[in-house]
Every structure is written in structure tokens, then in C-alpha cells.
């Protein structure tokens, strides 16, 4: 399989007055052709920073970035100049943000904003660009695309705005799309629509997708492979079905138990005790040990390595759990 993205040992640090914030500590990421990879974690775990570092969108300073390898489609992105990056962004690699209202320009019609993609990257004329825009809007499921292209963002509903962002991201048929919480701001019924469209477009265009989210149910419905992040590190990596049928890391188990399901009858909610550690003051040893019920002395002292546990699976834990939730 062709590899679209290869990221090795990414480290991002933000110096602040209160100390160093180690946002990302050695993340490896592989994305292959036509694959949908999810990066899951709670707020502050470094998932958005990772995705922005991949696009080289982090400003440095303040961010201090170190990376062993960042290869996109065979190119070494670390060697690219800002000008080359601007060519790559949008054409080969696009991003969909969480809040469509703030990522669209409020004083430009959505049509013009999508036209820009074609005019900038393909060098199309105004007319050609508009034709393509209308086609893209139609493809993404917006009724009356020609009229809608002349609307301003505030005239559209939340779901429509998110679709406009999808149309923009898919405009140049990029190799990789990074979607940062694409459906978090949407209602459930609209979320279902947008996810369906996103998945359909991704398959149809043969794009790879990096889905950054905190919502495990979204992951379950569209991802192929999953990386679970906690406090700046990958704690578990697995194909989606394996992850949900037999999670290995206690944090993954806790996260999954915390998602209420319709099938449950009990009145109690399963909870993970404690809170996510502060990024300035992370605990010793395994970052999850203060919240982990299986923690031993070794976990308090030593940070476990990411160890393979099966085909395409890795887990960062001294005491990984087996299928039945039992300790191995």
C-alpha cells in the first residue's frame, strides 16, 4: 500500500511563564492511501497540535518543534519552504475545521471562497472556477447549488456551512484531508448527514483522511484505524474493529465505558476517576497511572514503551488488558 503520510517522533513544546508545556511527546503517525485514520483523545491531549504540525501550521516561535521525519507523498515536508508549503496546502493536503462559522470569511460569498481554491491552485478563470464550484456543491449535496454559491456564510445553516467546508477541502482532490472535529458543532441528525457525505466523498475521491476527534462514536462509524492519545502520547493504536471489540489500554477501556449506549439499562454511569493531568505538571512514569485501577509500582516509576501486541496493534502499557477486560 502506498504511504501518504509518515510522521516520526514529533515533539512540540510551548514555553510559557508557568513552565514548559510539552504538548506532543514523540508521536508516530502513518497514513496510507484511501485510508481513514482517527486520532482520538480528550481536550489538551495534543491531537490538534499534532494535526497542525503535520500541515506545518504551527507558528514557531512560540512552538518549538522537533521531528525525525515528516514525509508527505514521498516529499520531505521539513525541507519545504513556506512558499512550497502554500502550494501543497489546499492542493495536496486540505483541512476541515470544527467551527465552520469562524473558518469561513463572513464578508465573502461561499461561492467565491470555493472559487479561490480553483483559481489559486489550478489557475482557472473566474467562469471555469464557478462552474467547478457549482459542481462541487452539488456533489456535496447542497440543493440549488448555483443560488447557494451566492449566499454569505451567515445565510446558511450549520450543516450547510460544514458542507461548504467539505466542498472546499475536496475541491482540488487532495491526497490527504485533515478533519479537526468536523461534526462536533452539529446536531445529531445533521451530524449523521455530514458524516455520511464525508465518508462517501473520501471513498469516491480516493483521498486519505485524518480524523481528529474526541467522539468515539464518530470514530466507530467512519474510521479504519485509530490512534488513541493521552497527555501528548499515543497510548494505543489499532484497527477500528479490534479496538472496539477488545481495547488493550485501560484508558481506552475507560473512554469506551464512559460513552453511554442505548442498550444500557443501568442507571449509574461508568466513570474514569480523576482528571487529565495538567500539561505543565505531568505525573511521573506512565501518565495515566493516577487514574488507572491497575497501576503498580513500576507504572509510577517508568514510562512504558509502545509495544506491538498483534497485527497492526500497539499499546503503551505494562499491564495491557485482554479481550474480556481481564489483565494479562
Amino acid at each position: 500500500m502506498e504511504q501518504v503520510l509518515k510522521l516520526r517522533n514529533l515533539k512540540v513544546v510551548f514555553p510559557t511563564d508557568y513552565g514548559l508545556i510539552r504538548a506532543v511527546e514523540g508521536v508516530d503517525l502513518d497514513i496510507f492511501h484511501r485510508e481513514c485514520v482517527a486520532l482520538v483523545g480528550e481536550s489538551g491531549c495534543g491531537k490538534s497540535v499534532t494535526s497542525q504540525a503535520v500541515m506545518r501550521l504551527l507558528e514557531s516561535p512560540p512552538a518549538l518543534i522537533r521531528v525525525d521525519a515528516l514525509e508527505f507523498d514521498g516529499r520531505d515536508l521539513t525541507q519545504c519552504t513556506e512558499q512550497e508549503m502554500q502550494e501543497i496546502r489546499g492542493r495536496d493536503m486540505a483541512m476541515i475545521f470544527q467551527d465552520a462559522m469562524t473558518s469561513l470569511n463572513p464578508v465573502m460569498t461561499v461561492g467565491r471562497q470555493i472559487d479561490e481554491m480553483y483559481r489559486r491552485h489550478n489557475g482557472d478563470s473566474k467562469k471555469e472556477a464557478r462552474e467547478k464550484t457549482v459542481k462541487a456543491l452539488e456533489l456535496i449535496g447542497i440543493p440549488e447549488p448555483r443560488e447557494r454559491a451566492n449566499s454569505f456564510p451567515h445565510q446558511l445553516s450549520g450543516g450547510m456551512r460544514q458542507r461548504v467546508l467539505l466542498a472546499m477541502a475536496f475541491a482540488c482532490m487532495p491526497k490527504l484531508i485533515i478533519a479537526d472535529e468536523p461534526t462536533t458543532a452539529l446536531d445529531v441528525t445533521i451530524q449523521a448527514q455530514v458524516l455520511k457525505t464525508l465518508r462517501g466523498m473520501q471513498r469516491g475521491c480516493g483521498t486519505s483522511l485524518l480524523l481528529v476527534t474526541h467522539d468515539l462514536s464518530v470514530v466507530a462509524s467512519i474510521a479504519d484505524r485509530v490512534y488513541v492519545m493521552y497527555a501528548g502520547r499515543i497510548v494505543e493504536k489499532a484497527p477500528v474493529k479490534d479496538l472496539f471489540t477488545s481495547p488493550h489500554h485501560p484508558y481506552t477501556v475507560g473512554l469506551m465505558a464512559a460513552v453511554p449506549r442505548l442498550a444500557d439499562e443501568k442507571k449509574q454511569f461508568t466513570q474514569i476517576p480523576g482528571t487529565v493531568p495538567s500539561p505543565v505538571n505531568k505525573p511521573s512514569g506512565c501518565y495515566f497511572h493516577p487514574r488507572c485501577q491497575y497501576a503498580t509500582e513500576r507504572c509510577r516509576q517508568e514510562m512504558p514503551r509502545l509495544k506491538p501486541t498483534g497485527k497492526d496493534r500497539e499499546v503503551r502499557c505494562f499491564h495491557p488488558l485482554s479481550a474480556g477486560g481481564e489483565q494479562q
Binding site: R261, K267, Q268, I272, P273, T275, V276
Partner: protein
């Protein structure tokens, strides 16, 4: 079981004004003609998408918004007919927990000031009593007396929400409105707060109105619930009955739209077309017809009646209740297939 809160045909409309203040462009019918009863000691869920009027309805319940029509009865007393000081006394027994723990706490107040403010307003002036009470409350919600002089910025989202809860229960209310209490929190904290709410309900004999857009949370928390769409109640009643047998197409779609992390069974996902229409001057018929997969021609003109189909299970849908015997447009029971073009929003 006695009723603690009764809503009788409550409507809340907001005028939409044009460029000149006296030109009325129309009305936002945030809540229209809602009748519900909430029993003492239960958790009553209100579910719906954004803009369906959940929060407006809850505000009307605690008297923060005056309904345009209808009555809000708290323990049998009409809130909006009470003289001001009587209302204030009544209001102490109903409190609210807000969605966003970041904007609902004053950043310049310390914990003690935040939690004791309601007591201060009631007229309590003894520092010692208040302090003792605040410490007691903090411990009840899982914080400690050491936090007394810290500021909201020192706390995480979950802890702030605990502060909001402590403040809400400081005057021993009997009726608590929780407006999306966990939607701003992380998944792993989510369950902690919901468990705390359940625990407090048992300890303090509270009645909750639990507003949420997450049906799975509602199913686990609530005894009874109401599903709202565009200002109207679509289905309401006993939670078990509704989840076992959802009758309204919107409820069915909402339940089907919940994404599950269960790989063991395949579920059918109903994807509703279109968006929630604007609540400004909504259509005369059923408010859901434009998106309803089972809409009939008559749904567009004739508003459905709100009928009790089985004990404690109300539905407003023509499919379930049939059409009333009045003048009906021709072919009213024909399904709308192929779907007629929806008029522009």
C-alpha cells in the same frame, strides 16, 4: 406522585423587528403550545436539536422568561401572577445549572463568594454560618474546604461544573433545571458529573429537568421525557415506553441517528434530509413535515393533535392519531413521494 410543575399551553414568541422598531417582521415561535407535567422526585428529560426551544422552555419554567400565552404552575401556583416578593420566595426553590461552566461563574469571585452569593441575596448575613454551609456544599459535590478561596480559573471544567452545582443547591431547592450540564465537558468527566447529579438527587430529594441533545444520556438518567422539534413537543411521557416504542418519526430518527460504538449488531441509520427550518413564521401544519420520511400531503396543512396514545405516552403525529374530521385537502393521506420540492427557507 404529585405534580411539582405543570405547563398549560405555554407559548413563548419573540418578535422579530425590522429596521424600524414598530415594523414587525414576524415572530420567532420558540415554544408554542406546550403542555407538560413534571412529577415530584423524577428526572424529566427535554431532548431536541439546537433551536428547538429546550432552553427557552426551561427558562419559562423557572420564570426567567414570561410566556406569551399559557400558564406555568409551580406546585399549583401560577408563577406569572405572583407579586414580585412572593415570586422571589418561590424562585429560591427552583434553581438552574448552566451549560457552560466557563461563562456561568464570575471569574473575579472566589469559590466562597460564588457559592454563598445566593444565601447573601436571601438575606443571610452571618459569615460563620455561611462558611460552614459552603464547606458542607463543597464536600457534597466532591470539592474540599481547601478550595474555599481559589478562583474559577484554578479549576478544570469538571470542577467548575461542580461549583455550579454547589451554588445551585445552596438554598435547598426542590426543583433543579440542568441545561446541558455536561455537553461542554470531556467524555471522561461527563460520567462523573452525571453520577454526581444522580447521587444528589437521591440525597436531597430533588426534581430535575434535564435538558440534553444526547439521547443515550437521557435514556439512562430520565424517568420521563419530552422530545421537542421547532418549538413543539413531538412525543412525551414515560421514558421506558418511548424508548421501547418510539411512535413519532422524529423520535425514531433521533434514536437511529445516535452513533454507537457497538460493533456487535448492525443498526439501521435513518438519515433525515435537510435542516431544521427557521422558527420564524413556521408552516401551519406539522412542523416536521419537510423532513419527515413518512410525510403525507395533509401533514403540510393540518397541525397534528397532541394525544395520549397509551397511559403516560403522548404523541403529536398524524400517522399515529389519524386526521381529524374536518375539511381536508384532497388526497391528504397520500404519501409525499416523490418528495415535493420544499419551499425555500
Amino acid at each position: 406522585m404529585t405534580e411539582i410543575m405543570t405547563l398549560q399551553n405555554v407559548s413563548v414568541h419573540f418578535p422579530v423587528r425590522g429596521a424600524l422598531p414598530f415594523l414587525r417582521k414576524g415572530e420567532i415561535q420558540a415554544v408554542s403550545d406546550v403542555s407538560l407535567s413534571i412529577h415530584r422526585g423524577e428526572i424529566f428529560g427535554i431532548v431536541g436539536e439546537s433551536g428547538c426551544g429546550k432552553t427557552t422552555l426551561a427558562s419559562a419554567m423557572v420564570g426567567m422568561i414570561k410566556p406569551t400565552a399559557g400558564q406555568v404552575l409551580f406546585e399549583g401556583v401560577d408563577l406569572n401572577r405572583l407579586p414580585r416578593d412572593e415570586f422571589k420566595k418561590m424562585r429560591r426553590r427552583m434553581q438552574m445549572i448552566f451549560q457552560d461552566p466557563f461563562s456561568s461563574l464570575n471569574p473575579r469571585f472566589n469559590v466562597y463568594q460564588i457559592v454563598s452569593e445566593p444565601m447573601l441575596i436571601r438575606g443571610e448575613d452571618d459569615e460563620e454560618t455561611m462558611k460552614a454551609r459552603v464547606v458542607e456544599l463543597l464536600e457534597l459535590v466532591g470539592l474540599s474546604s481547601q478550595d474555599l478561596y481559589r478562583y474559577p480559573s484554578d479549576f478544570s471544567g469538571g470542577q467548575r461544573q461542580r461549583l455550579g452545582i454547589a451554588r445551585a443547591i445552596s438554598l435547598n431547592p426542590s426543583f433543579l433545571v440542568c441545561d446541558e450540564p455536561v455537553s461542554a465537558l470531556d467524555v471522561s468527566i461527563h460520567a462523573q458529573i452525571l453520577n454526581l447529579l444522580l447521587e444528589l438527587q437521591e440525597k436531597l430529594n430533588l426534581t430535575y429537568v434535564f435538558i440534553s441533545h444526547n439521547l443515550a444520556d437521557v435514556k439512562k438518567m430520565c424517568d420521563r421525557l419530552a422530545v421537542m422539534y421547532l418549538g413543539k413537543v413531538m412525543e412525551a411521557g414515560n421514558s421506558d415506553k418511548i424508548f421501547a416504542n418510539p411512535m413519532h418519526p422524529y423520535t425514531q430518527a433521533l434514536i437511529a441517528a445516535i452513533l454507537d460504538i457497538d460493533f456487535s449488531e448492525e443498526r439501521e441509520i435513518i438519515v433525515l434530509p435537510g435542516d431544521t427550518p427557521s422558527p420564524i413564521n413556521p408552516p401551519p401544519g406539522c412542523r416536521f413535515w419537510q423532513r419527515c420520511p413518512k410525510a403525507m400531503r395533509g401533514c403540510r396543512e393540518v397541525p397534528p393533535e397532541y394525544v395520549e396514545v397509551e397511559p403516560d405516552h403522548f404523541v403529536a403525529c398524524h400517522l399515529v392519531n389519524g386526521f381529524p374530521d374536518q375539511e381536508l385537502p384532497e388526497g391528504y393521506d397520500q404519501p409525499m413521494v416523490p418528495r415535493e420540492k420544499v419551499p425555500g427557507r
